[in-house]
């Protein structure tokens, strides 16, 4: 039940994109069409889970015992960047189809705040290993949900007579604001 609460909390109630402003670059950059955004959502979730696991191990077995917690940021970012680069190369080599589907987003993910922040939050809140993974999955799916909603709204607005200066990223922000406003309905529900 505790895991479920954490999971649901991360997906809707405390959606990282809409309440913590994480992952906005991709959120706005890759939400122009639905299929790309869905691919991105999956990619982020996958990377986040894997890097969370690795990061948790490094933190709890190396950094914490030696009192090096202030170096977490530097180590994690290197870890994720290298890991993602490796992942990208592997996919490119062995599954060009998969690479074309969402491999191209991987490089974007390498330096993305949501991917870095989840491991950071996990260790800062001293979550256990499994708990960290659940948090990562939930946050990733929350991100996927937000970006898919965003993309579907933007696809619809592509056909609308949006004022010129607001076209593109401007209107995307306004939609995001309204999504955030709507998601406030979940507040207080869990946690």
């Amino acid at each position: 039940m505790e895991y479920f609460t954490l999971f649901m909390g991360a997906v809707v109630v405390n959606n990282f994109v809409l309440t913590k402003f994480l992952g906005l670059c991709i959120f706005f950059g890759v939400s122009k069409n639905l299929s790309a955004s869905a691919g991105m959502g999956i990619a982020v979730t996958a990377v986040m889970v894997m890097s969370s696991a690795l990061a948790w191990l490094i933190y709890n077995f190396i950094l914490l015992p030696f009192g090096l917690t202030f170096m977490t940021t530097a180590v994690f970012v290197l870890l994720i960047a290298s890991f993602v680069q490796l992942l990208e190369m592997v996919i490119k080599k062995y599954s060009p189809a998969l690479y074309n589907m969402w491999g191209i987003y991987l490089l974007l993910i390498a330096t993305n705040c949501i991917v870095l922040s989840i491991p950071l939050i996990n260790v800062e809140s001293s979550y256990g290993f499994l708990y960290s993974l659940v948090n990562a999955v939930g946050s990733g799916l929350g991100f996927a949900l937000a970006i898919v909603l965003m993309a579907s709204c933007r696809e619809k607005l592509r056909l609308a007579d949006v004022p010129k200066p607001l076209e593109g990223i401007g209107i995307a922000f306004i939609i995001a604001g309204m999504l955030a406003l709507s998601f406030l309905g979940f507040s207080g529900m869990i946690g």
Partner: protein, 207 residues
């Protein structure tokens, strides 16, 4: 000199990292509910981006292209960690206010982007100005957002109460939703400003 000035200037207006390039948006929202935190964040980023540009332009010739990105990230991470440590020691209140977002400077796309697209191709001096310009642009954008959000959302700027008690502040401005919408409109406004300036420029060059 002129070209240095233009390297510097483009980062502030025409290629403003937040309003035009739409990079590194997370801090633009997360820490801008007050002007003070916005400024701190802006200055931190300015420092990091300028430093990193310098470092990258210095080491660009000895970096192996295969590990270019990790090396640049290491450089950024080092600088950020230094900033983190310094703030923690000398301004703990701000350190707490910025929270996790300070650590996240590491992954701000704008920093890596400048390193990749500018500093890795230019010498120290232009890189410095490019970084500084981008940093200032970033900082300016953040402060604009911070000031507006604080003014409307709390009636004060930099913690100084400007609007009297009569002002019943709408909380939406300091909440995510209002922040998103405000930035949306600022981006629109900025676009109009840039277009207006370009038009002026074109007219001048024609005349």
């Amino acid at each position: 000199m002129n070209s240095l000035w233009s390297e510097f200037k483009k980062g502030i207006i025409a290629e403003n990292p937040i309003f035009v390039l739409a990079l590194s948006l997370c801090p633009a929202l997360a820490v801008t509910s007050s002007a003070t935190t916005s400024l701190t964040m802006g200055l931190s980023v300015m420092f990091v981006i300028t430093m990193n540009n310098c470092v990258v332009s210095l080491i660009r010739n000895v970096v192996n292209p295969k590990v270019r990105v990790p090396v640049y990230i290491t450089s950024i991470a080092t600088i950020v960690t230094v900033v983190q440590l310094a703030l923690q020691a000398y301004a703990p209140a701000l350190y707490d206010a910025l929270g996790i977002y300070l650590a996240l400077i590491v992954v701000f796309a704008i920093i890596l982007a400048r390193a990749e697209s500018f500093a890795s191709k230019h010498t120290l001096i232009p890189s410095f100005f490019d970084g500084l310009g981008m940093g200032v642009g970033f900082c300016v954008a953040l402060v604009i957002i911070g000031v507006l959000r604080e003014l409307f959302g709390a009636g004060s700027i930099f913690g100084v109460k400007l609007l009297g008690d009569w002002y019943n502040a709408p909380l939406i401005m300091i909440l995510p939703a209002g922040g998103f919408m405000l930035i949306g409109y600022l981006i629109g406004g900025w676009k109009m400003l840039v277009q207006h300036m370009e038009k002026k420029e074109a007219e001048r060059s024609e005349a």
